[in-house]
């Protein structure tokens, strides 16, 4: 194979401009108005007025603290839960069984999960109904501040429930390499406990692979909009939903303030990332001191049990939330404290499906196209780089993950104005493009590891008997990687379906997806319809994930070596 040349290959250039370009352009589009410069709206002098206006907004400090605190706490808890559970149970039957819930849980869009959780934990929600009045004595819902609490606990819980499956999947992928089981065995033979082996030997090796996803989780959680709108506090709300409200204010001077707020949001997320990096360093130092202490940590029963308990609680909460969504979808009347609906109806379901068809079609079209493009681009990039023998370095990784590390609100505002000026706002293509920016990094995340693990000797052998690069890809690499490619496609579809803010802001209301509909209906007066739309949101990724699991099994039913390792 040819050696590295000075010029970067086409896909690398394409991908970096495609991802980093809009982010940087969008950031510039937010930065200029933040300093009072937005000639399109008649502001053509620089000033600090937007920031002054921003900082004089009542409750701003609290909003900032909420964003920082809930986002960081949710991310750190999620990682801790995943690591403790993995450490305690990796390789056991329970572990394998629980991983089966992963993909379906991962495919639940944030908005749908939040709606389901709200139905579950509200004082008049399903859990309260299940235990009332026989256990609690409540004949009426108690006046407890469970949802939208001022400290953002419900919101943090909602974020944890969504980020745990994601980080778990990333950890699993990282564990999916040779010799991991051997480390555990070696640790056990030296008398180390299961968890001690994990934290002392395995984690230091796999952590670099979990790190970037973890940073993306922090950036996301500190700037989330839809979860905050459904579960978050309102007196005052966290920063991100407030920004969106200012951006939509008919008083256009608030747009400048919103842009200043977008820059503030960027610094809040950056501060959270920084805080995490310091925390990471401290943990590393603390762990390092113990690596060689020789302490075997045999009494780990309690830690293992609690890790399992928390994991099971989260998975059950999510499964129950979806089940409650399913119940509401067919419930006509369901009064407190009845544990099941009093009147059922299927009529609304057909109504919702026929009325939701345009949104469903648009969602499908955007998701499938974005996922196809993202998967194809990822393959092209990986193939080109492995052909040229270039390792994906840190810089490329950073550029690819830029859209996930910069808060969406911070650059979408700027991007929206750019699209508007270019006259592209509200077109299908612009929404597709906006989705691609967010879908690609996940596709890359899902596929780069399986690609790296592909034995390079297959390609070498084929090349030595004269197969072209094209032929090697189509005949060897693609079929061998069919399963991860399909999973990547499914992940990409799920990510696209879940996009709320990009669809809303770039789509200008003309491109309606089940997710934007679902958030609009979530606060409406009819739970049945809200639940139906939340389920519609869920169905597409679920079907795609199922297909991704079934298709390879059907294709490879006569190839024993291509079956799943499990």
């Amino acid at each position: 194979m040819p050696k590295v040349t000075g010029r970067p290959d086409i896909p690398t250039v394409l991908v970096t401009t495609l991802l980093a370009g809009p982010v940087l352009a969008g950031l510039a589009g937010s930065l200029l108005p933040a300093f009072g410069y937005l000639p399109a709206l008649g502001y053509d002098t620089f000033s600090q007025a937007p920031f002054r206006q921003l900082f004089s907004t009542p409750g701003l400090g609290k909003s900032v603290l909420l964003s920082f605190g809930t986002g960081l706490a949710a991310s750190v808890f999620s990682l801790a839960i995943v690591l403790v559970f993995t450490a305690g149970w990796f390789g056991t039957r329970i572990f394998r069984q629980l991983t089966r819930f992963l993909s379906p849980l991962l495919s639940i869009p944030h908005a749908a999960a939040s709606i389901g959780l709200a139905f579950l934990i509200a004082p008049s929600g399903f859990l309260a109904r299940l235990f009332s009045p026989w256990a609690t004595g409540w004949t009426r819902p108690p006046d407890f501040l469970v949802l939208n609490d001022p400290y953002g606990l419900a919101m943090t819980f909602g974020l944890v429930a969504k980020e745990v499956p994601f980080l778990f999947l990333m950890t699993l992928a990282a564990l999916n390499r040779p010799h991991i089981q051997d480390y555990f065995k070696a640790g056990a033979s030296l008398g180390y406990g299961r968890m001690a082996s994990f934290f002392k030997v395995v984690l230091p090796q796999i952590y670099p692979l979990i790190r970037l996803p973890m940073l993306a989780v922090i950036a996301y959680s500190t700037s989330v909009v839809d979860v905050a709108q459904i579960l978050g506090p309102t007196t005052p709300p966290p920063l991100a939903p407030r920004l969106v409200a200012w951006m939509n204010d008919p008083d256009l001077s608030k747009r400048l303030m919103a842009s200043a707020g977008a820059i503030l949001q960027l610094s809040v997320s950056a501060a959270a990332l920084l805080f995490y990096l310091v925390l990471e360093r401290l943990c590393a130092v603390a762990l390092k001191l113990r690596y060689a202490s020789g302490h075997r940590h045999n009494r780990e029963k309690l830690a293992r049990k609690s890790g399992l308990a928390v994991m099971v609680a989260i998975i059950s909460a999510m499964v129950l939330a979806i089940a409650v969504l399913g119940l509401w979808a067919v419930a006509k009347s369901w009064w407190f404290p009845a544990p099941l609906p009093q009147r059922w109806s299927l009529g609304r379901m057909s109504d919702a499906i026929s009325m939701g068809t345009p949104a469903l079609t648009a969602t499908l079209a955007v998701a499938i196209l974005a996922a196809l493009m993202a998967t194809a681009l990822t393959l092209w990039l990986l193939e080109a780089r492995s052909f040229r023998n270039v390792r994906t370095g840190r810089r490329l990784n950073f550029l690819i993950f830029l859209p996930l590390l910069v808060p969406q609100v911070s650059f979408l505002f700027g991007l929206q104005v750019l699209f508007l000026i270019a006259g592209l706002s509200g077109t299908f293509l612009s929404v597709l493009f906006a989705h691609l920016i967010f879908v690609f990094p996940y596709a890359f995340l899902a596929l780069s590891d399986p690609w790296k693990r592909l034995d390079p000797r297959f390609a070498k052998a084929a090349a030595s008997i004269g197969a072209s690069r094209m032929k090697i890809f189509w005949k060897i690499q693609a079929p061998l990687l069919l399963r991860p490619i399909l999973v990547t496609f499914a992940v990409a579809v799920a990510v696209s379906v879940g996009q709320y803010l990009p669809t809303l802001m770039i789509g200008a209301g003309r491109i309606v997806t089940v997710t934007t509909e679902s958030v609009a209906l979530a606060s409406g007066g009819n739970r049945q319809v809200a639940a139906l739309y939340a389920l519609l949101q869920l169905i597409i990724p679920f079907v795609v994930f199922t297909l991704a699991a079934i298709v390879p099994s059907l294709l490879f039913r006569n190839r024993s070596a291509m079956r799943l390792e499990r």
């Binding site: 009542p58 409750g59 008049s124 309102t234 256009l252 209301g509 007066g525 739970r527």
Partner: protein
């Protein structure tokens, strides 16, 4: 049975409407003008930006869209928005970047401060179009002054009335037999039943309406409210309002630390039994919700002594819509006696008509007379006096003052 009868009459109305319309259009000039609009509208797609949180209203909008697509070849796409202010902002942004035609919005469901804001910023189609609609002749301009004056701002024919709104309260008679009859009694009720009353959080439209209701009832000099807000007197004028809220807040649902998101959410909380009292801008809301199984059958409607806030909601066309003809055809259809009767049916929406029923031709009048308003709807004479909306400038002043006091958790 009445439902089928009403549906039958509705159907009859559909069949008869074209003939009736034709007979009514006496001036040939007007007819040909409207014919031009119809010709131009054919094949257009109208993007109708309207609040989308209520499935029944969404279904009604869909139904009207199907009707005019069939009859006039105009396609209407309902863009469901969660806040009308964002649509105003969108049109304003389009104007600012110089988009004079082909705007994203063709028709908006609007009233009050959003209309005032659009009018002030020159975001609306040229004045007078609403009065050229053939069905304008039936609008009750005389007895319903708010169809031409929207929150003290003259509409100048830049928005076409769609329905009447009046603040009404709902209570579940199974839990609360005698509802409070005044704001003082409401406060007493809250003190006796902590956590069972709430209002949506301003700047939500309904939350602000509750503030306006209290303001209009407690303000010393009512004339202040019909004029743009004057900073010098604002604090004095709202002092009794905030004194009332200071008393009320410790007894609100969640002690005022969380609020329902909007009226629909509040109604859902009434259905869940979390609240005993909720309110709506639609006098037929409770009946409609009962018919759809969203509220228990024991829910009833009440109003407060001394009257409640009332207004009209409209549809308006932005200046840069390229489908103005199609938008007018849709607006005219929404005004037609047939569409207006259907809208008032509690199961469909329950929204009161803007038309002068007494002056309608007998066929159309029969449609309205056949309406069964449902078990929880007050008769027009029971609805009490209408308190006028304050000038739109009060809205943002109230919202800001409220947020500063209660919306920042700084207590």
């Amino acid at each position: 049975m009445t439902r089928f009868l009403a549906a039958g009459i509705g159907l009859l109305g559909t069949l008869l409407t074209p003939f009736v319309l034709h007979a009514q259009d006496t001036t040939p000039n007007q007819t040909s003008d409207w014919q031009n609009v119809l010709d131009e509208a054919k094949g257009q797609t109208v993007y109708f930006h309207a609040w989308g949180g209520e499935p029944r209203i969404n279904a009604y909008i869909q139904w009207a869209a199907r009707e005019i697509e069939r009859d006039y070849g105009v396609r209407v796409v309902h863009v469901k928005v969660s806040d009308t202010a964002s649509v105003v902002s969108q049109v304003l942004a389009e104007k600012s970047v110089g988009k004079q035609t082909g705007g994203a919005v063709d028709l908006i469901w609007i009233n009050g401060e959003n209309f005032a804001s659009m009018k002030e910023n020159g975001l609306l189609a040229a004045p007078g179009w609403a009065e050229t609609l053939p069905n304008w002749q039936y609008v009750d301009v005389e007895n319903k002054p708010t169809v031409t004056v929207d929150f003290t701002v003259p509409t100048d024919g830049q928005e076409s009335p769609w329905g009447m709104a009046k603040l009404v309260f709902m209570h579940d008679s199974a839990r609360l037999e005698t509802p409070p009859a005044s704001l003082e009694e409401l406060l007493d009720f809250a003190k006796g039943n902590p956590g069972r009353f709430a209002y949506p959080q301003p700047p939500n439209f309904y939350g602000t309406t509750f503030l306006k209701q209290v303001l209009a009832t407690t303000v010393e000099n009512e004339e202040l409210l019909s004029k743009p807000v004057d900073k010098a007197v604002f604090d004095d004028a709202v002092a009794p309002l905030f004194a009332y809220l200071d008393d009320l807040h410790p007894y609100l649902w969640r002690k005022g630390q969380a609020f329902p998101k909007n009226a629909a959410d509040m109604r859902q909380l009434l259905a869940d039994g979390e609240l005993d009292i909720a309110f709506s801008f639609n006098p037929g809301d409770a009946s409609g919700a009962i018919a759809n199984g969203e509220l228990p059958e024991t829910v009833r409607t009440f109003v407060l002594d001394g009257g409640t806030i009332g207004n009209t909601h409209f549809v308006a066309i932005p200046f840069n819509s390229s489908n103005q003809a199609g938008a007018k055809v849709y607006a005219d259809f929404l005004l037609s006696p047939m569409a207006q009767t259907r809208k008032q049916e509690p199961e469909v929406w329950g929204d009161p008509t803007v038309l002068n029923v007494a002056a309608l031709p007998s066929n159309e009048k029969a449609l309205f007379e056949a309406l069964d308003l449902g078990p929880a709807t007050l008769l027009p004479e029971e609805l009490g006096p209408v308190l006028p909306e304050p000038h739109p400038s009060w809205v943002s002043a109230l919202e800001e003052a409220w947020t500063e006091r209660y919306g920042t958790g700084s207590e």
